[in-house]
Symmetry: C2
DNA sequence: TTGAAAGCGCTAACAT
DNA sequence: ATGTTAGCGCTTTCAA
């Protein structure tokens, strides 16, 4: 290694102290004299000493790093969540490692495996839309490995969760469409396996009922990959084109943008005058065409809370945490033509 | 540690072998008998053994992880580069750690520091638009620490680089505008510190010349934070509104979308009929309004090549690599109204 | 072909 | 207040 660092030993030798004294001085232990601390710290600074986290991790069985698993960082919602996570992780000196599943259950479990094997101190994750096997996660959690779920969470697992008030968000979006005069509102959503989709579906139904509109199976289209494959959205669009709907509520970031793209690609198939309300945290909604009403999640806040819960859990060695589920608010934003 | 893993020792004890034999068997050493290998590997699989990379790293002085530094992952261009990097890193069993600078030089050096201290095997980075001090990077490189630069690269540093054919991309974009009949083409660009901006400016000038159009200082507006702050774009817009330009070439992802957003925000200030050509890798360009012509970079490919170069360098212990600069092609894509 | 022993850099009992 | 020692889990001489 040509770019070798100074080690504790080096400093100890140079200062004629023992490595343990140096270690303690560096970590400001109370059992070290003021003079020694000054001596050590000055020297350390001079030679630009950095503790080796690999060695430290091996010793204290901690890596001071946490893993994040999301479907893809290109999704604005997730990149905002990541920003939130980083804001607390960095403050507490944890490194964050991001992994993408691209909605593949296999990649997801591989990443969990990797994170576990690499001695991550804990994991923050939003499930892939494909996942249906929670067995291995259950095991991990049972064995005390800290995991906090956010956004897309597995109900059956007993671990802290941070989610959005999906039902309310959906309800308000559909209510808004109804207020605009829509009498037959379609719904485009993703996999039935996703917790948030199901909650949004519930909100959709509730709002229909509140407006004395009938719930019709054929007005609801599912995209199993959450729109990661544009073809599934295009198929849904062609299906929907057979129905006479006059408003549409869309359940996810990728689906919302995908719907707009499909409208463009098949002009005349579905009128772009039909009002659209959709979940999206894209920061480009204002330049979308046609204009839409966006249901925005508190993404940054979600990342923040999830990270806080995780680090609490990591640092509360042993003490079983309460497995609460935190619910964050949504907001509707309208964009004029 | 409640969620303890099996260790080499555990396996050795269970199989009545020595840890060294187990270690060798697991890594398929030629000096281990076929039978022992089978025995060990079967058992390892059974108990779901994973080597502890922390311990291994401490021993072999390698962490099998590489750091990525970009301004922000929300930027589609960078998220595509990251995808490219991951595609080769995972294949070679390296973990990737992503850090965002948000265009801050301070955060950038902090991240480099952190990566170095955490024994990353190497770094892949695109400079922040604020960076002007390359001293510490120079030192690191001198000491043999592997760094590969991409997209926004420091000319003065002697390290491998992967960039886009910016000059050509700019030239073609401006040529296209000229072909559309534009006689006075403005240019919106980012910091003068960024290598790619300067190359694009050169391409812009060249194309103007080729079309016998005069280069005018006042038609070129700089945004020091690359549009990360929307206000700087809005200011540029107000400045530009004073000029009679009939076409605009924009030099970056964030700037391109920011320009469109500013157009929306200040209707009437600048006609949205004025043709726009801009660098962007957004995968939502087709639903932007107004429509634009996009200059697309080979982002995925860039990540791939950069990662390959870095891993080559990491694994070519000592042997000084050739410090080539690789140039990747761009393509123009037009979107109809 | 296998094992014993040392050591990567650090921390934490346990001395002193 | 400081030092000694052992050991985290792994790899790697060196010896058998």
């Amino acid at each position: 290694m040509t770019y070798a660092h100074y080690t504790l030993k080096d400093i100890a030798k140079a200062l004629k102290l023992s490595p343990s004294t140096v270690s303690r001085a560096l970590r400001d232990s109370h059992e070290i004299s003021k003079e020694t601390k000054v001596l050590v710290n000055d020297f350390a600074k001079k030679v630009n000493y950095r503790v080796n986290p690999i060695a430290r991790g091996l010793k204290v069985r901690k890596s001071f790093s946490i893993g994040i698993i999301v479907s893809e960082i290109a999704n604005n919602f997730f990149s905002q969540v990541v920003d939130g996570i980083e804001s607390v992780a960095y403050a507490k000196n944890y490194q964050v490692v991001i992994a993408q599943t691209k909605e593949s259950a296999e990649r997801e479990s591989l990443h969990v495996e990797q994170f576990y094997a690499r001695s991550m101190d804990g994991i923050l994750m939003a499930m892939s839309s494909e996942t249906h096997n929670y067995e291995y996660l259950h095991d991990l959690i049972q064995r005390g490995f800290p995991i906090v779920f956010f956004d897309r969470v597995p109900q059956q697992l007993n671990s802290p969760k941070v989610i959005t008030d999906n039902k309310k968000g959906a309800y308000e979006a559909v209510q808004y469409l109804a207020n605009q005069g829509c009498k037959r509102i379609a719904h485009l959503t993703s996999s039935k396996k996703l917790s948030n989709s199901m909650e949004r579906l519930a909100g959709y139904k509730l709002a229909l009922m509140a407006n004395h509109q009938e719930y019709e199976e054929k007005l609801v289209k599912y995209c199993d990959y959450g729109g990661l494959q544009q073809t599934e959205i295009e198929e849904a669009l062609h299906e929907l084109a057979k129905e006479q709907f006059d408003g549409i509520f869309i359940s996810g970031d990728r689906l919302t943008t995908g719907y707009l793209q499909a409208l463009k690609k098949f002009p005349g198939l579905i009128s772009d005058q039909i009002p659209i309300a959709g979940f999206t945290n894209s920061d480009l909604v204002d330049i979308f065409s046609p204009s839409i009403t966006a249901v925005r999640q508190s993404a940054f806040e979600m990342g923040k809370r999830a990270a806080e819960l995780l680090i609490e859990q990591i640092e509360a060695k042993g003490a079983k945490p309460e497995y609460q589920t935190e619910v964050l608010p949504v907001s509707l934003i309208h964009f004029a033509e």
